[in-house]
């Protein structure tokens, strides 16, 4: 096929949602962030809420998420996105607010803000991308790093005796009365990505109910930090991350 034939409207099979900007993403090839961004943007697009959506970006690999979402965005301090989300949603209760955080941000430095925003039942959507490592700072141990997993600050593997246990923060959150919908998803296969998008859609739709927080963990990869090729990283994720962080809804009170 020539280029002209390819770009004919009838041959269109996939189109980038307009809720993503044209900026080239800085994420490593194979990283789950790009796809997760796309799913969120598609949901915003399909719900027709671009003008009423406010996003909060974290510190970590997704610090520049605001360059990719074509919605108004605020860059939070490390761990504080749920505090921002709380205030924004309370001040604009009819808007759609989402926070986007990694594991270090949400489950280490920001644990207090995470737990309390969820426990108060703030009516926004929390997206939690868990790849078990600090990506942006060069692959250090995260609160979610698995037992014996090697990182630059656990070079001989995570020793539970001295370094503590990996934190299942999503299970903790599911216990809280303020949490309306708590689910663990993944995006490393097309089928899982489609399922994840449904979960994101529900999490955004839930904001209309004003009945509590919707929390989505996305178990993801970090092929750079894990020092694996993208395909190997996805295999490693399936074999090691998922047994400890099993997929599925932990709570769905809707």
């Amino acid at each position: 096929m020539t280029r002209e034939e390819i770009i004919k409207p009838e041959n269109l099979v996939y189109k980038k949602t307009s809720v993503l900007t044209d900026n080239v993403m800085h994420y490593c090839p194979g990283c789950g962030h790009g796809l997760t961004h796309r799913l969120i943007a598609e949901v915003i697009d399909e719900m027709g809420i671009q003008d009423k959506t406010i996003g909060v970006a974290p510190v970590g690999c997704a610090v520049l998420a605001y360059n990719y979402f074509d919605v108004d965005c605020i860059e939070a301090a490390h761990g504080r996105a749920p505090a921002l989300g709380t205030a924004i949603k309370r001040l604009y209760p009819e808007h759609f607010v989402f926070t986007y955080q990694g594991d270090g941000d949400l489950a280490a430095i920001g644990t207090a803000e995470t737990i309390h925003a969820c426990n108060r039942g703030e009516n926004f959507t929390m997206i939690f991308v868990n790849n078990g490592i600090y990506g942006m700072t060069g692959g250090q141990m995260a609160p979610t790093t698995l037992k014996d997993m090697k990182t630059s600050t656990s070079p001989y593997g995570r020793d539970l005796q001295t370094m503590g246990n990996p934190l299942k923060i999503t299970e903790l959150i599911a216990q809280l009365p303020g949490a309306l919908y708590v689910t663990r998803q993944a995006v490393y296969t097309p089928a899982l990505a489609r399922k994840c998008k449904k979960a994101i859609r529900q999490a955004f739709e839930n904001q209309k109910l004003k009945q509590g927080i919707s929390f989505i963990e996305i178990v993801s990869n970090c092929n750079s930090g894990w020092k694996l090729s993208p395909i190997q990283a996805n295999e490693w994720l399936e074999q090691n991350m998922l047994p400890f962080y099993p997929l599925g809804d932990l709570k769905n009170n809707k």
């Binding site: 900007t21 671009q50 003008d51 009423k52 959506t53 406010i54 909060v56 970006a57 610090v63 520049l64 605001y66 360059n67 979402f69 074509d70 919605v71 108004d72 965005c73 605020i74 860059e75 939070a76 301090a77 504080r80 505090a83 921002l84 989300g85 709380t86 205030a87 924004i88 309370r90 001040l91 604009y92 808007h95 207090a112 803000e113 737990i115 309390h116």
Partner: protein, 356 residues
């Protein structure tokens, strides 16, 4: 309609917030300022003006709620006392860096550490010299009466939005706890969402089709761009220094000695003026109302005509550095202060003046 009330300084902050059209308060209890949150909760401002009040899980969360609220163009504030304000320094730096309007109140108590719950002015350096990281400034208002506690909430928001900069009301346990007569105004309506979207084009209010998406951030990874951000901030601070200096002078015309004091120390010094003049010592008082920008010029102009200047502060000598810079060391400047929550008495200040 003006209404006369007898209120604590802390209550006046809360009442000033409700009545000036504040959109949101986020705070955490700490002595000696918990009456602010208590008064707000008791007054049910949501029913009066739609103002949101939330007791946060920490001061760290409070200041970041303020960051979020300011970023979406709302008039939001927090209050705390010294140890809590230390926890807020990260957030204040982000707010200054992202150029977000916000109001913070510090009802200062003695430190360092957990210190004491009694009044102090030991957070002067923290407030006017930085506190958080990076080259930024807090516009700092120092109320010396309960009426000023009330008035400075609205003034603080005006300055915060005019300069897109955090404003600190630097009070202390005396002004927070004392009850005085206050004239309170009517309830002003809060800004509508439409007004905010039109008036503050930088605010993250939701992206309409007709404009690009707004990004509120303090991050600029390219140094050349980050330098530009800094230059813009510095230009803004210069403008602020040119336009926003506020002060009060009392009996300076014929004074041989000048006291420089702010907040509750300035009130105590007014008594010193009276006692000194009864003994025939001609003393005047310069009361900085803005601690940043600092009233350098007036302190210079009045100060160089005096035999000496006494900087009276409830700390170990912090503002004295700015006073000395202001008079370019042309006249002797000394410090008198008590700390750890001890309030200096008018008589001991008078004695310090006699010993000058």
């Amino acid at each position: 309609m003006k209404e006369l009330r007898l209120m604590k300084g802390n209550e006046a902050i809360a009442e000033g917030a409700i009545r000036c059209g504040c959109d949101g308060y986020f705070g955490y209890p700490i002595t000696p300022q918990s009456e602010i949150l208590e008064h707000l909760m008791a007054e049910k401002p949501y029913e009066k003006t739609g103002m949101v009040v939330l007791q946060a899980e920490s001061e760290v969360a409070s200041i970041n709620m303020v960051y979020g609220g300011g970023a979406v163009g709302k008039k939001v504030m927090t209050t705390s006392s010294s140890p809590g304000v230390s926890l807020m320094q990260e957030g204040l730096s982000y707010i200054a860096g992202a150029e977000i309007p916000a109001l913070c109140v510090n009802v200062v108590r003695g430190g360092p550490g957990l210190g004491t719950i009694q009044p102090s002015q030991a957070d002067y350096f923290q407030t006017v010299k930085g506190g958080g990281h990076g080259d930024y400034r807090l516009i700092t208002l120092a109320p010396a009466s309960v009426q000023e506690m009330y008035d400075f909430v609205e003034l603080g928001f005006d300055l915060a939005f005019k300069y897109r900069n955090p404003v600190m009301i630097l009070s202390d346990g005396i002004i927070g706890q004392v009850m005085e007569k206050v004239e309170v105004g009517d309830y002003k309506p809060r800004w509508t969402d439409e007004y905010i979207a039109e008036t503050f084009p930088w605010a993250a209010t939701g992206k309409p089709k007709k404009r690009d998406h707004n990004i509120v951030t303090s991050l600029q990874l390219e140094s050349a761009k980050q330098e530009k951000v800094n230059l813009r901030l510095q230009a803004k601070y210069k403008e602020c220094e040119a336009n926003e200096v506020r002060y009060e002078t009392i009996q300076c015309e014929d004074a041989d000695y000048i006291l420089v004091a702010y907040g509750s120390s300035a009130r105590i010094c007014q008594k010193v003026l009276q006692l000194a003049r009864e003994e025939g010592i001609k003393v005047g008082l310069i009361r900085p109302i803005t601690l940043w920008p600092f009233p350098k010029q007036i302190i210079h102009d009045i100060g160089i005509k005096a035999k000496g200047i006494l900087s009276v502060e409830m700390n170990a000598g912090q503002m004295i550095e700015d006073v000395m810079l202001a008079v370019e060391c042309k006249v002797p400047v000394k410090h008198y202060g008590r700390f750890g929550g001890i309030v200096p008495t008018p008589s001991e200040i008078l004695q310090a003046l006699k010993n000058f």
